[in-house]
Amino acid sequence: MADFDQELDASGLNCPLPILRAKKTLSGMDAGQILHIIATDPGSVKDFEAFSKQTGNELLESKEEGGKFHFLIKKT
C-alpha cells in the first residue's frame, strides 16, 4: 500500500457511516493529501467509487485484503 497522510478505520461501521466519516476526515485535510480508509462493509466498494466521482476526490486505490477493504483517496 502506497504512502498516506491520514488513516481512518471504519471497520464494523455500516452504510452510510464509512462515507460520512471519510468526508469529515477529508475536510480536515489539505489538498493533495491522501487518506487511507479501512472498512468491512462490502457496500463501501461501490460507495467509495461513487463518492469519488461525485466529490472529485480521487480514488487512487481500492482493494480487499485480509477480509477488509482498503481505499486510498486523494483530496483535491
Binding site: 461501521l13 455500516n14 452504510c15 462515507i19 468526508k23 468491512t40 462493509d41
Partner: protein, 159 residues
C-alpha cells in the same frame, strides 16, 4: 457547476422509516448536495429532542422476524401489551450489532452537515404540539416554503 439540491418530505414516525430520510440526507450532504428535509404529520416525531421511535410488525408482512416469530406467533400475538417495545429493542440491538448508526447519530450528522430541517407548522398546530419538545435550530414553515426549495431541486423524495 451549481451545487445540486435534494428535497425530502418525511411523513413517517416509526423507527424503521426514520432511517431513509436521515441516511439519504446525510449522504447527500457528504456528496455536496444542499439538502432540506420537510417533516410533516408523523414525520415530526423525528424532530423531537427525546426520540421514542418504535417499530411494529403489525400490518407489515415484509418485516423479517427473529427465530421465525411471525410463523409461530401470528398477528394476534403481536398485539399483546409490551410486544412492540420488545420488537423495538430487538431491532435496536440488531442494528447496533451490525454497525448501523442510531437515528440520534444520523440526525446529528445531518445537522453538522447543515442539512436544513423544517417542521410543518400546520401539523404542529393540528396535534397541539409544543415547540419546546423539538430540537433547536429547526425552522417552521408550510407547503409553499417547501416548494420554494423543492422547485429548484435536482432530486425530490417523498418518504
Amino acid at each position: 457547476m451549481d451545487e445540486k439540491k435534494l428535497a425530502i418530505i418525511a411523513t413517517k414516525g416509526s423507527l424503521d422509516w426514520a432511517y431513509p430520510p436521515f441516511i439519504l440526507a446525510s449522504t447527500a450532504a457528504a456528496l455536496g448536495y444542499e439538502t432540506q428535509i420537510f417533516f410533516t404529520f408523523y414525520g415530526l416525531q423525528l424532530l423531537k429532542k427525546k426520540l421514542a421511535l418504535e417499530v411494529t410488525p403489525l400490518g407489515n408482512p415484509g418485516m423479517p422476524m427473529p427465530m421465525g416469530m411471525d410463523k409461530w406467533f401470528p398477528v394476534l400475538g403481536m398485539t399483546l401489551p409490551g410486544m412492540q417495545g420488545m420488537v423495538t429493542s430487538m431491532m435496536k440491538q440488531k442494528m447496533k450489532s451490525k454497525g448501523v448508526a442510531s437515528i440520534e447519530e444520523l440526525r446529528e450528522l445531518c445537522i453538522e452537515a447543515e442539512v436544513k430541517l423544517i417542521a410543518c407548522q400546520m401539523t404542529v398546530d393540528l396535534f397541539d404540539m409544543d415547540r419546546a419538545v423539538f430540537i433547536d435550530g429547526i425552522e417552521y414553515a408550510g407547503a409553499a416554503a417547501f416548494f420554494e426549495f423543492a422547485g429548484d431541486s435536482d432530486i425530490c423524495l417523498y418518504i
